[in-house]
């Protein structure tokens, strides 16, 4: 906890820049590798459905020219039946194509999510200290979603887009170069116009986004600080400041939105103009006696126009979308690539310990900042060691090293004479039970939360542990007792009750070494006594390290280590340290002596 404050947060800003897109594409492809056959089927289906669209549109025109205009009723009906069959088949294909792609995309994103989570599980503590939860969450959720969407849409769109553009383009060219030119022109105009507009609006949108940010900040602040606002009589000034920001945001948003609301109608207009140009150019060509264009050709082109603009825009936009989703993929892979925490190669399995702990000239640095300097301590089996000292002195850090959460810079931490880095991490952490100031309680029942201490514990053992932790009484007062589901880190319980539960969890482990981080204060007085008793019971027969704030705990300790500025400055029992009239006695007098 102490570390969090000192380390600057390394929050990764949104990166749209791609560092190594080739690699990223390759890795996405690796995920798809197993689905290769399915994707190939999708590809084939797409060819068929796109071909049907192109051919169908052409037949529409032929029907007008060759059958209706030439009074071929029988042939007309035959060709219509063929078209009907074609369309039915094509719809089936579309259905299969979409179904397959959904399955592939969901399977793939589930696998990516799984891989990210697996690696996240193995990352060293330092990763969690230095990375913002929000950022990691957004990689796990938004970025994986983006990949999913890209897979679902991009693939089909890319296939259909390219095939349609090429196929339809060729069909149109053969039919009439003039009308093809008009169609292409309108498609390209649509694309470039929206590009141009979005360039203009981008600035407006950025202003809007910035204003929205400060608007949301103000809402968050004033709502969560409501009590302060009321008590300091700031309602009016808060509201007037908010109204100003609100007005600014609305103005900026209006600018951006009214600009971009032209895009839709403009595209519509371009389409309509292309529509009329095709009709007119076709009509004029027919009137001038040229045989190149027929009424059927006009008809075909009018339909092509509708079917062509979509795919060509998709393909053009795809570059953008692809870039975004590749950026997402890169962010996700970054997380998968983070170096996991690993056992040393010489680490061995250790299932038991007597509980002799020794710190041998331990120096620890976080990044470049030295936090602990030359720490030496010896705790024999069953001893209680109290660590005292001002906030930020390094007490919690010392205890983090015991479970090998961070690598040392110098020195060794020994458990029964064996370097802790030579013990399998999981074994080591099972031998040492840590009770944090605020241990995390997960969304599950109280029973399951306690059982997390040792998954093999029976219901009886869990309840026994709760009794030893003095938690049994309040648990039984809850409507669902041990089956009460805790949510949001058990916010509904008091701090003291949460602490009792984490003590119960520690009881279940039965580990011979204990690290206790006493809550600074503020445990409600009711449970305070309960917590004290429970902690005392928990320490029995264990080698215990207590980061202590309570005098009673300190007085009971076999040895007291006074930590300041990353060093052990005094060491001894309560009485011997008081007699020394040093740092400890000063600390003691300022905190506990009530007669001054």
């Amino acid at each position: 906890m102490d570390m969090h404050r000192r380390v600057p947060r390394n929050i990764h800003p949104e990166k749209v820049q791609l560092n190594n897109w080739k690699d990223t594409v390759k890795r996405v492809w690796n995920y798809l590798d197993a689905r290769k056959i399915k994707l190939f089927i999708v590809f084939l289906l797409t060819i068929v459905t796109t071909a049907v669209t192109i051919v169908g549109n052409r037949i529409n025109g032929l029907v007008i020219d060759d059958y209706i205009s030439k009074n071929q009723l029988h042939a007309l009906l035959v060709i219509c039946s063929i078209m009907a069959v074609m369309y039915v088949v094509s719809s089936f294909f579309t259905y299969f194509q979409n179904s397959i792609i959904i399955k592939v995309a969901q399977d793939t994103s589930a696998r990516i999510r799984h891989d990210v989570f697996t690696n996240l599980q193995r990352l060293p503590m330092k990763y969690f200290d230095t990375h913002d939860n929000g950022d990691v969450m957004s990689r796990l959720t938004n970025d994986v979603d983006n990949i999913n969407t890209a897979l679902m849409q991009t693939f089909v769109q890319l296939f259909t887009g390219i095939i349609s553009v090429i196929g339809m383009g060729m069909a149109m060219l053969i039919l009439s170069p003039l009308l093809t030119g008009i169609t292409l022109l309108s498609s390209v105009a649509t694309y470039f116009f929206s590009k141009a507009i979005s360039k203009i609006t981008q600035k407006a949108f950025m202003t809007q986004q910035r204003d929205l940010g400060s608007l949301n900040t103000q809402i968050e602040e004033s709502v969560s600080g409501k009590q302060l606002v009321q008590l300091f009589d700031h309602t009016e000034s808060t509201m007037s400041e908010f109204d100003r920001t609100n007005g600014e945001y609305t103005k900026a948003a209006f600018k951006a939105q009214s600009l971009s609301s032209i895009i839709g109608p403009f595209n519509n207009m371009t389409n309509n103009v292309a529509y009329l140009l095709i009709t007119m150019a076709g009509a004029i060509s027919i009137l001038s006696g040229s045989k190149a264009i027929t009424v059927g050709t006009i008809f075909t082109f009018l339909i092509y126009l509708r079917n062509f603009t979509g795919p060509i825009n998709n393909v053009l936009n795809l570059i953008n979308t692809l870039q975004l989703s590749l950026a997402s993929a890169e962010r996700v892979f970054e997380l998968i690539d983070e170096e996991p925490e690993q056992d040393n190669s010489d680490a061995v399995a250790v299932k038991q310990t007597a509980g002799n702990v020794q710190f041998d000239h331990v120096t620890f640095a976080y990044d470049k900042k030295t936090i602990l300097k030359d720490i030496n301590l010896t705790a024999k089996q069953g001893e209680v060691v109290a660590l005292v000292g001002p906030t930020g002195a390094g007490k919690t850090t010392i205890m983090n090293l015991l479970t090998n959460l961070y690598p040392l810079k110098k020195g060794r931490v020994l458990l029964d004479g064996r370097d802790v880095t030579a013990i399998h991490m999981y074994d080591l952490r099972r031998l040492v039970t840590v009770v944090q100031q605020e241990s995390f309680l997960f969304t599950m029942s109280i029973r399951e939360n306690i059982r997390l201490g040792r998954p093999s514990a029976t219901d009886n053992e869990v309840e026994e542990a709760a009794k030893q932790a003095n938690a049994d009484t309040f648990i039984n007062q809850l409507p669902d007792g041990y089956d009460t589901i805790l949510t949001e880190n058990a916010r509904s319980l008091s701090q003291g009750q949460r602490q009792l539960l984490s003590i119960a969890r520690a009881f279940v482990t039965g580990a011979p070494v204990l690290v206790l981080d006493e809550a600074t204060a503020s445990i409600d007085s009711n449970t305070e006594a309960d917590v004290q008793l429970a902690m005392t019971a928990l320490m029995r027969n264990k080698t215990s390290f207590v980061i202590a704030h309570r005098l009673s705990t300190i007085q009971r300790a076999d040895q007291i280590l006074v930590i300041n500025d990353g060093k052990i400055i005094e060491q001894g029992t309560h009485q011997s340290l008081l007699a020394k009239h040093g740092f400890y006695s000063e600390l003691y007098n300022s905190q506990f002596d009530i007669t001054n």
Binding site: T94, T141, I219, V223, T520, L587, Q591
Partner: protein, 575 residues
């Protein structure tokens, strides 16, 4: 939902709100002219070899295209104006309600915030849709049907068969998919929760070697999410092929049946072409309509959430302010009882008296009613029995502002606002000088770290003060409450996050600074209250004992035990 919109849309915005759809209808009208004009070119212009006719009609089409652009752009602009103005009003209204609201047991801040931000944005989008999409698509759909009937009544039966089938089919698919999407959303929430807890509880997971346990839990839920997402997506995957198929079959029938009619000269080629074109327009309008219905249902949920906030609107306050001004800084509670309707009372017949200039200590467990007591004194809640007086005047008869000016409270939750250290410290007194700030931060033991900041009082404070440690925040919070130097100061467990040494320093300096000024100290630490003129021991909303430290040591078992656990046995001898 409509009510919310109408309540928050006024003047020009309201006019635009109604004008925009009308203008949008103009756009639709223009769009619908195109196929008809085209068919006239083919049937009349081409058949009669009339170039003039062709060019005239082409110009007409161009005019309609341009008009359509103008209508569309204007309608869109007016629509976004209306929707943004509505959003602005609604946001402001909701925030005001949230800030004024003094009802106990209201909505949690977190949900209030999402309602004022996300849900208002949803409502904004809804208004935008009402003015544009919700008008445009159905109009295009309806207009397309009408136009195709007009241009070619003989082919109209095709529409009468296809449309109902499509509508029923769409309805069934969409309705059937909704529960599946809800399930998917739940699965997403669960997976997100596991991931979030995994990050928050990283240290606990490592300490207790829960990695595999977490992994298994995640594996199950991740699979479940994959399954439900696939189910949801599969439920709607049939939509697009069916719509496509119906449209294509319609076109085929129009060609076949229409063609046979054309051969017998009942209808013309132009009519067939126009009809098919209308069919394409109708189908795309239909798909848009379905999309709009889906987003509409999302907005409905939002509007319900917004309404819940609006319902908290307090009734017009009857200010019964009298001209009575408190004569001094004494405080008295006379038989005060307070509680939420259903449960046990939180404060039960609380009576005490703090003479002018005295220090009062209140000690008790969490949930004993300490904070509620302060909420009543500061008039955060007004619904209670009994009488509370400041300086001999019933606080209910005082102006709310006067009550708040009379006293300052340092809350346990030491929230800072984004801005600077100065803007935070002067929150209660904007005219405070640097000397005032120096004095207050000295008392709060905050000078030491403020002096280390490069810009001292002008250093930036980020949102919630997250660039300061818990202890620093709390010291700034205390300093902030000292700056106004109010007649009455209340410290509501305000030193819980600082270490005991700092706590002791703050206590000693505060005692000197506020000597003979009315001060209330609420704490769980005996050391903080034991020097007060009077200490109240609050248990389950009742005063179980009161008196000085010495008296309580004799009379209150609870207090004695507290002293034992907190100060240890050795201290007892001194007392």
């Amino acid at each position: 939902m409509f009510k919310i919109i109408m309540q928050h849309i006024h003047g020009r915005a309201k006019l635009f709100f109604f004008m925009s759809p009308l203008i949008m209808m103009g756009e639709v009208f223009c769009d619908l002219q195109q196929p008809t004009l085209m068919s006239q070119i083919i049937d009349n212009g081409l058949a009669k070899n009339d170039l003039h006719y062709v060019i005239n009609h082409a110009l007409l089409m161009l005019m309609f295209a341009m008009l359509g652009l103008i209508f569309g752009a204007t309608g869109g602009t007016l629509g976004s104006y209306a929707s943004l103005k509505m959003g602005q009003q609604l946001r402001s209204h909701m925030l005001e309600i949230s800030l004024i609201d003094r009802n106990p047991g209201g909505l949690e801040p977190a949900t209030l915030i999402t309602r004022i931000t996300n849900d208002v944005t949803q409502m904004q989008t809804l208004v935008m849709m009402m003015t544009r999409g919700m008008v445009r698509s159905p109009m295009l759909l309806f207009g397309g049907i009408v136009m195709s009937i007009i241009i070619c009544p003989d082919l109209a039966p095709i529409l009468f068969v296809i449309m109902p089938i499509l509508v029923i089919f769409l309805l069934i698919v969409v309705l059937k998919s909704i529960p599946k999407y809800t399930k998917m959303q739940q699965a997403i929430d669960t997976v997100n929760r596991i991931m979030r807890e995994n990050l928050q509880g990283a240290k606990t997971i490592k300490s207790y070697v829960l990695e595999n346990h977490q992994m298994n839990q995640f594996k199950d839920e991740n699979n479940h999410l994959r399954q439900t997402s696939q189910n949801a997506a599969m439920a709607t995957v049939i939509l697009s092929p069916i719509i496509q198929l119906m449209l294509n079959l319609g076109v085929v029938v129009a060609l076949g049946y229409g063609g046979s009619l054309a051969i017998s000269k009942t209808i013309s080629n132009g009519q067939i072409i126009a009809f098919v074109n209308y069919m394409i327009q109708i189908t795309s309008a239909m798909i848009q309509t379905v999309n709009i219905i889906t987003s509409f249902s999302r907005a409905i949920t939002s509007s319900a959430r917004v309404q819940a906030v609006l319902d908290e609107e307090p009734k017009k306050q009857v200010t019964t302010s009298s001209n009575d001004k408190p004569v001094d800084d004494s405080i008295s509670f006379d038989d005060v009882t307070f509680g939420y309707q259903t449960s046990e009372p939180i404060l039960d017949k609380v009576t005490f008296n703090v003479p002018d200039g005295d220090w009062l200590g209140i000690i008790g467990a969490t949930g004993s009613g300490k904070s509620s007591l302060i909420k009543l004194l500061t008039r955060s809640f007004d619904e209670y029995d009994g009488i509370i007086k400041i300086g001999g005047v019933d606080i209910q008869k005082m102006n709310l502002q006067d009550v708040h000016q009379k006293m300052t409270v340092a809350l346990q939750d030491s929230l800072l606002f984004s801005g600077t250290v100065r803007s935070n410290l002067t929150y209660g007194n904007e005219s405070a000088t640097d000397e005032d700030l120096d004095v207050s931060s000295d008392i709060a033991d905050a000078s030491e770290f403020i002096d280390k900041l490069p810009k001292r009082y002008d250093s930036v404070v980020e949102q919630t003060g997250k660039n300061f440690s818990g202890g620093q925040r709390q010291r700034l919070n205390i300093a902030r409450s000292i700056v106004p130097n109010s007649d009455i100061l209340v410290m509501d467990d305000a030193t819980s996050a600082v270490d005991q040494e700092t706590n002791a320093r703050i206590k000693n300096r505060l005692e000197k600074y506020r000597k003979n000024k009315t001060t209330i100290i609420i704490s769980q630490r005996v050391t903080n209250v034991m020097d007060c003129n009077q200490i109240i021991v609050l248990i389950n909303g009742r005063i179980s004992a009161s008196g000085t430290h010495k008296e309580l040591l004799k009379e209150s078992t609870f207090y004695r035990q507290l002293v034992q656990t907190q100060l240890g046995g050795g201290i007892n001898g001194h007392a």
